[in-house]
């Protein structure tokens, strides 16, 4: 099985979400492993800007031909920006899961939650075949 891409400076959740932290803003997406498992993503459920989330809440649902997966927020906070591009063209997530395939930007209100997430090497271990 080909090895999936991992990006060093990101944090990772057990549900295959990643978060990129810049000051108190976290950008969230799903990992290369996740998009590979799903196959061609055909639908992404609308994400509402302004929603207040708790860690573990469902941000969105992605759908492929053979599977459906909830995308959970790895941290608590308010959704301040939504990536409309992936709603319009879900294939972006497959093509560029760590870059253009981002889902939402969240203003973190409990940055300590990041300690509960995995580092790149920890996630790599976790998802080793």
């Amino acid at each position: 099985m080909m090895s999936n891409k991992i990006i060093e400076e990101l944090y990772y959740s057990k549900n295959d979400e990643w978060i990129k932290v810049e000051n108190d803003i976290g950008t969230i997406g799903i990992t290369d492993y996740a998009q590979d498992q799903l196959g061609d993503i055909v639908y992404v459920e609308e994400i509402k800007k302004g929603t207040n989330l708790n860690k573990g809440d469902v941000i969105s649902t992605v759908e492929s031909v053979k599977a459906v997966s909830d995308v959970y927020s790895p941290i608590s906070g308010e959704i301040i920006e939504v990536n409309q591009a992936i709603i319009e063209d879900p294939s972006i997530i497959n093509k560029d899961p760590f870059g253009k395939g981002w889902f939402a930007k969240i203003k973190m209100d409990q940055p300590e939650e990041l300690d509960e997430l995995m580092s790149a090497s920890e996630y790599s271990e976790y998802r080793k075949e």
Partner: protein, 491 residues
């Protein structure tokens, strides 16, 4: 192949009209333009010959049980006897209006009443409702019955326990009945983990939905413990009868302690699958649940010596469909049971169990089984070990088509740790040893091809009317009607 719409030519027709068209009546005198459509609905204009040729050709693109082995696990694709069809099409049954008065439908009511007695004996239950139209419909009905039972007893139970190996309809039905689904993991042997069950079963739980043998074809050796655990906390035990073909004359769900049972008449009882129905998912219950059955059921008045439709009373869950049941399916079931009798019903199960174990024994060194144990009427192999050749179970299934065989069930069931890349094979009793041997030889050949010539699997199928379909395109650019197709061309 062309759509019927593409064969339409203005001026053609396939219908006939009586000479008296009631021209003396002007419908505009009664219905205004508020209700009448000023235009005709545009369907098609084809001749009867066109229709016959179109559908004859279409039928040839399908593969049916009459064409050969159809080893779909969990579906019991057995022979559909022709006498069943003939009995179901007797004119006194076919033209009977469901709302006719009781004295006119004694024959239909007798079929339903007698069938109830037969099914009760076969499964050790006390009363069946014939209302549910499919297994899932039966599951919903059964869940609603259990829900009503607890409401009636003043108990607030909101959770339903369902094994991770269960068919997707189980949790979907429980959710439709308003329950929270709690998943029970399977143990190393592929059966219900008794500790998980014990921990999850409490007084807020309705009970457990169980398929036995389960979806990988294994009888649950813990069935007595399961029954005790669930009933001890006042719960109810639901039997998903999809796999009853492994149990006829061998084990009856009622004897094993089940309170609610659904049967798939279009599986175990030989009524045809019809390309996806109609079947029937009749529900059997023990005495204490009879008050909650959907209304009506058929009863016999021993004074009047007449059958009648009886309202099941105030505690009934109501109705789950209009009228009384999928009657023609019931006639076919009745006919089949009487054709077999007790010895042959047992032989159905005995033969299908031998069939499945035979395939398991012959193929396990080529396709690693999910669980290497004797199975019931179906066995679950996997395509796990072909990953290293770049081959998935899907590719094996598609290659089978090139050999003229319908693939078994693939990717179901799917649960940890071993049931993945599954190939679930159910060879019912209507398939003989030669048929199985042919299948086995082909599977061995494909195993060889996977290792030496994987490309031929990856590009399969080759000889079917169409090749592998682009399912992603179907969702991304939905064309769900002919008009969608026309509109997409305009763009």
């Amino acid at each position: 192949m062309k759509l019927i719409f593409e064969k339409s030519i203005p001026g053609r027709d396939a219908y006939s009209l009586p000479t008296d068209l009631f021209q003396d009546i002007k419908i505009e005198d009664y219905l205004s333009e508020k209700h009448l459509d000023k235009d005709k609905k545009q369907l098609t204009e084809v001749s009867e010959v066109d229709v016959i040729r179109h559908f004859t050709k279409l039928s040839k693109f399908n593969y049916g049980v009459d064409d050969g082995l159809y080893p779909l696990g969990s579906c019991t694709m057995k022979y559909n006897p022709r006498i069943n069809e003939k009995m179901a099409t007797l004119s006194q049954f076919v033209y009977a209006h469901p709302l006719s008065s009781a004295e006119m439908i004694q024959g239909s009511l007798e079929i339903m009443y007698q069938l109830n007695l037969l099914l009760c004996e076969i499964t050790a239950m006390n009363q069946y409702t014939m209302a549910p139209a499919s297994g899932a419909h039966g599951e919903l009905t059964g869940n609603l019955i259990m829900r009503q039972y607890f409401i009636d007893h003043g108990e607030k139970r909101t959770k339903m326990l369902i094994p991770d190996s269960a068919h997707g309809t189980n949790p979907a039905s429980a959710a439709m009945a308003g329950f929270e689904v709690i998943e029970i993991k399977s143990n190393e042997n592929g059966t219900v983990d008794l500790n998980s069950l014990k921990n999850a079963m409490d007084e807020q739980t309705v009970g457990l939905m169980l398929t036995n043998p389960n979806t990988v074809g294994l009888y649950d050796e813990g069935i007595e413990d399961i029954e005790k655990i669930v009933h001890k906390k006042g719960g109810l035990l639901y039997y998903d009868g999809a796999n009853l073909n492994a149990s006829l004359g061998i084990i009856r769900p009622g004897d094993a302690g089940f309170d609610v049972v659904h049967l798939n008449l279009h599986k175990t009882f030989s009524t045809p699958h019809g390309g996806g129905g109609p079947g029937a998912g009749v529900i059997g219950v023990k005495d204490r649940l009879i008050p909650y059955l959907p209304t009506p059921i058929v009863d016999f008045d021993s004074n009047e010596k007449k059958y009648f439709l009886k309202d099941t009373g105030k505690k009934s869950i109501g109705m789950v469909r209009s009228f009384w049941g999928n009657f023609s399916v019931l006639v076919k079931t009745f006919t089949w049971i009487l054709s077999l009798g007790p010895e042959n019903l047992y032989q159905c199960s005995r033969t299908s169990i031998i069939n499945a174990n035979y395939i398991l024994a012959k193929l396990k060194k080529y396709y690693k089984p999910a669980y290497d144990q004797y199975c019931g009427h179906e066995c679950t192999l996997t395509g796990r070990e072909y990953k290293k050749y770049g081959i998935k179970t899907l590719n094996i299934a598609k290659r089978l088509m090139d050999y003229g065989i319908h693939p078994p069930t693939i990717y179901f069931p799917h649960f940890e740790p071993y049931a993945e890349e599954t190939i679930m094979i159910e060879p019912p009793e209507s398939d003989s040893k030669e048929v199985l041997d042919e299948f086995i030889n082909i599977m061995i050949k494909i195993s060889d091809e996977a290792k030496t010539n994987p490309e031929v699997l990856l590009s399969a199928p080759h000889v079917t009317p169409i090749g592998k379909t682009d399912d992603v395109l179907a969702v991304k650019k939905p064309i769900l009607t002919y008009d969608d197709e026309l509109n997409s061309k305009d763009q």
